[in-house]
């Protein structure tokens, strides 16, 4: 029964169906469209997921502006800027990887760009880990009983309000970092497929969709960076 259907569905053109075409799609175009739309819908979902944290940030930032500015000074904007640059560069290499598969560059070029993306992602994560460690040293881990800032807290700001900033910092950057780690996990098999020469101008959906995901994760950071790092810049030295 299904072979009959297949014969009618895929057999009409002179060329045989592409090997990557799943049985329930009519053609590659439909399959590509479905994949891309699926990723966009997923991203919409992600926006709402992060949205909860952005809402919490907004609420407490409005309530405790002084505490947030003072606490923000504990973050090093130079390191943050460096990491922002690293992440934007990784977006560029990812875009180039997509381009390489779209125009059918050799698999070495494809894998090369993807490897560069992974590398930059790992640099970002390494720097992040270093920053987290710094917070630990300064007693800024926002868990009840652990939170014990070594530097004095400015007048008029309670420890609780101060801690509020740091758990938001950890929750937001932590969730972001988790997305990057997952991203690295997803790109690994895609690189393997690229190495095996699976991608071509006709079929490169996985690379393209992963690219969308990666750019989305970058954009989240573009919002996190000013909200968390640059908040207290003009109050520098105020504490």
């Amino acid at each position: 029964m299904s072979t009959h259907a297949e014969a009618i569905e895929h057999g009409h053109g002179p060329e045989a169906a592409h090997e990557a075409l799943a049985h329930h799609f009519d053609n590659m175009e439909q399959q590509r469209e479905a994949g891309a739309l699926g990723m966009w819908v997923f991203i919409a979902q992600e926006v709402m997921f992060f949205g909860g944290l952005f809402l919490a940030y907004l609420v407490y930032r409005m309530q405790y502006p002084r505490a947030f500015m003072a606490a923000s000074n504990h973050l090093d904007w130079k390191i943050g800027t460096f990491n922002t640059a690293v992440l934007i560069a990784s977006s560029l290499t990812m875009a180039l990887a997509v381009w390489a598969t779209q125009v059918g560059r050799s698999r070495k070029v494809q894998v090369g760009f993807m490897a560069a993306t992974v590398l930059l992602g790992l640099v970002f994560l390494g720097v992040k880990a270093f920053e987290y460690h710094d917070k630990y040293v300064d007693g800024l881990i926002p868990i009840a009983g652990w939170f014990n800032p070594h530097d004095p807290i400015p007048a008029g700001v309670t420890t609780g309000q101060y801690q509020m900033f740091f758990w938001l910092y950890f929750a937001m950057t932590g969730l972001h970092a988790l997305h990057m780690i997952i991203g690295v996990g997803i790109i690994a098999p895609i690189m393997w497929m690229a190495w095996r020469g699976r991608f071509s101008p006709e079929y490169h959906g996985p690379v393209e969709n992963f690219g969308l995901y990666w750019h989305f994760v970058d954009i989240i950071w573009i919002f996190l960076f000013p909200l968390l790092y640059l908040l207290g810049a003009h109050f520098k030295g105020g504490h």
């Binding site: 299904s2 329930h24 992060f50 868990i143």
Partner: protein, 578 residues
């Protein structure tokens, strides 16, 4: 069967029970089910699982009703009672009602109704079932280990600072389960956009598809918010970061805002699919096109959009500003309009239609009446002043059971009857089914109508005892418990005859009602890829002909062969003429 024992022979026997090769007998064995990527089989897996969780939720409901039979808290301690109503709510809302129609009928029908071979992402579809099972297992484990006592709403600070029950584990299960909803919604949206058969334009889509599309939007945009909310709750509970704790500068009302930002839209996840089912049933069983198709279609989208703007009506007494309360109240009244549009359009469709009394239609009648009561009392609650009186009373309990049980559960049952012939290839016994529908209707009203009165008189929800000095209260509670017993029996009957029919029911023709949808233009049960030939759609949705005309020229929908051959008697082989 008794002498045949090899798997091969059993497979042979299994195949012999169907007249055609179809999705049920194309493959054999437990593995072929657990690893299936066929949307129809996944729908069946979900059907079994949601029924399981429904039964568990039902058992807790029975315990609640038993306790309330008498004024004194004599059956269980208050602490146990807290757990019982919490377990009831969690099981019913997160593991039954939210997945109920979309994952079973939706999974089964969405691709078939639009003329596709499967959902866009079959593997993700299967994954969603596994995620659902893992989430369900974790939450169920939390209940078995000792339970949760926070209510299904998990309000802080009780849930974070005081309750010493398994809040985190149950929350984890619900968190995980959320992703199954998200994946289902994602799959539906992409499928409806990209997989429609040639000629199946947006305005030829069955209204079932529109309502599932709207549901999917809510699933995609709402579920992640509850996910992050539960994550924060767990963070607060485990690490005590202070987000919801006033002692550390946090705000407990923020939790309520975030919770209801999802959970109000979620009540539409719990009713929109049912509305889609009712639209199909009403058109089919009155043999008329739906009155005002595009109004009904867009009202689904309107509900999905406005549903996101009314969450504050749950916070009228939670220190929300009066002005916010007024605006939320106003928008809550607005959101009732699209629901009313549907009710009016169904009624107008029935007007001068050939009304049938087949079981699916009985459920549709019940739905329309009960949903109207549920929706109208929603407006009572959305009225600022009145809500202060009835908030957290049985009035609210009655309200949401009218929409959730009188609405979604009855629509689910109606839909199961309507598409049972398609899903299993067998007819259910009509007489028993009508009887059960009647029992359920009576039982339901007897259970929940007295609760409106109780609530109005001041009976609070979530209490396991009430003053013996109020004679009316016990009378009403006894009525409610009696009704619940009838409802319980009524729900068991379909359970029995559905299973019976899978073996002994009459073979179903391809199109028993007969209906115009694409899902009826393929054998019952359908083959694995649904259609032998991808259908080409050249007609509008619901081109029904009245019965008299149908007897002469066929049931409607242009490609049905004209001339006296009644489709119900037609052999399955002739169904595939393009």
């Amino acid at each position: 069967m008794s002498t045949q024992t090899t798997p091969e022979a059993r497979a042979q026997e299994w195949r012999g029970r169907f007249p055609t090769v179809n999705y049920l007998n194309a493959d054999y064995g437990i593995k072929s089910w657990l690893l299936t990527k066929d949307h129809k089989r996944i729908g069946i897996l979900y059907l079994i699982s949601v029924t399981f969780f429904f039964a568990i939720g039902g058992a807790y409901a029975a315990a609640i009703r038993l306790e309330l039979l008498t004024p004194l808290g004599d059956l269980m301690q208050s602490h146990t009672y807290n757990k019982v109503f919490t377990h009831h709510g969690i099981m019913m809302v997160f593991f039954f009602l939210i997945p109920s129609i979309p994952t079973t009928l939706g999974n089964f029908l969405v691709p078939m109704m639009i003329g596709a071979k499967d959902l866009a992402f079959p593997r993700i579809n299967l994954l969603s079932w596994y995620i659902y099972m893992v989430g369900g297992a974790l939450t169920f484990a939390a209940l078995l280990f000792g339970g949760v006592d926070t209510g299904w709403t998990f309000y802080v600070p009780y849930s974070t600072n005081f309750s010493n029950t398994y809040v985190t584990l149950a929350g984890l299960g619900i968190f995980i389960n959320g992703f199954s909803s998200i994946l289902t919604g994602l799959n539906f949206i992409v499928t409806v956009h990209t997989m429609r058969a040639p000629g199946m334009t947006w305005f030829r889509l069955p209204l079932f598809i529109w309502s599932h599309y709207a549901t999917s939007l809510v699933m995609i945009l709402g579920t992640p918010v509850i996910a992050i909310t539960i994550l924060l709750l767990a963070l607060e509970r485990v690490a005590h970061v202070g987000i919801f704790d006033p002692a550390l500068g946090g705000d407990p009302v923020l939790f309520q805002h975030m919770f209801w930002f999802y959970s109000h839209p979620a009540v539409y996840i719990m009713v929109l699919p049912g509305m889609g089912v009712i639209s199909e049933i009403v058109a089919t069983h009155t043999r008329k096109p739906i009155f005002g198709y595009s109004f009904v279609a867009f009202s689904s989208l309107a509900i999905a959009v406005f549903g996101f703007l009314v969450w504050g009506h749950h916070l009228f007494v939670s220190s929300q500003s009066v002005y916010a309360g007024m605006i939320f109240s106003l928008i809550s009244f607005v959101v009732a309009i699209p629901s009313a549009v549907k009710v009016f359009n169904w009624t107008a469709t029935m007007y001068k239609g050939s009304l049938s009394y087949d079981t699916p239609m009985l459920y549709a009648y019940a739905f329309i009446g009960l949903f109207t009561i549920g929706g109208m009392t929603g407006l009572f609650l959305a009225a600022l002043g009145l809500d202060i009186h009835v908030h957290d009373t049985y009035f609210v309990v009655a309200h949401f059971h009218y929409v959730m049980v009188g609405g979604q559960v009855l629509a689910f049952l109606g839909g199961l009857h309507n598409w049972w012939p398609k899903m299993t290839g067998r007819m259910y016994p009509e007489g028993w089914a009508r009887f059960a529908a009647l029992v359920i209707f009576v039982g339901f009203n007897l259970t929940f109508f007295p609760q409106f009165l109780l609530g109005y008189m001041g009976m609070p929800r979530r209490y396991h005892a009430y003053p013996p000095g109020e004679p009316m209260w016990q009378v009403l509670h006894v009525m409610s418990t009696g009704g619940a017993s009838i409802l319980g029996i009524g729900l068991l009957i379909p359970g029995v005859y559905f299973i019976w029919s899978m073996r002994y029911g009459r073979f179903a023709p391809a199109n028993p009602w007969p209906a115009t949808g694409l899902e009826w233009r393929t054998p019952s049960p359908p083959p694995t890829e649904n259609f032998a030939v991808t259908p080409v759609v050249t007609w509008e949705a619901y081109e029904y002909r009245p019965v008299e005309e149908m007897e002469v020229v066929g049931p409607g929908a242009p490609d049905a062969p004209a001339g006296g051959q009644h489709p119900a008697n037609r052999g399955v082989e002739t169904e595939e003429q393009p």
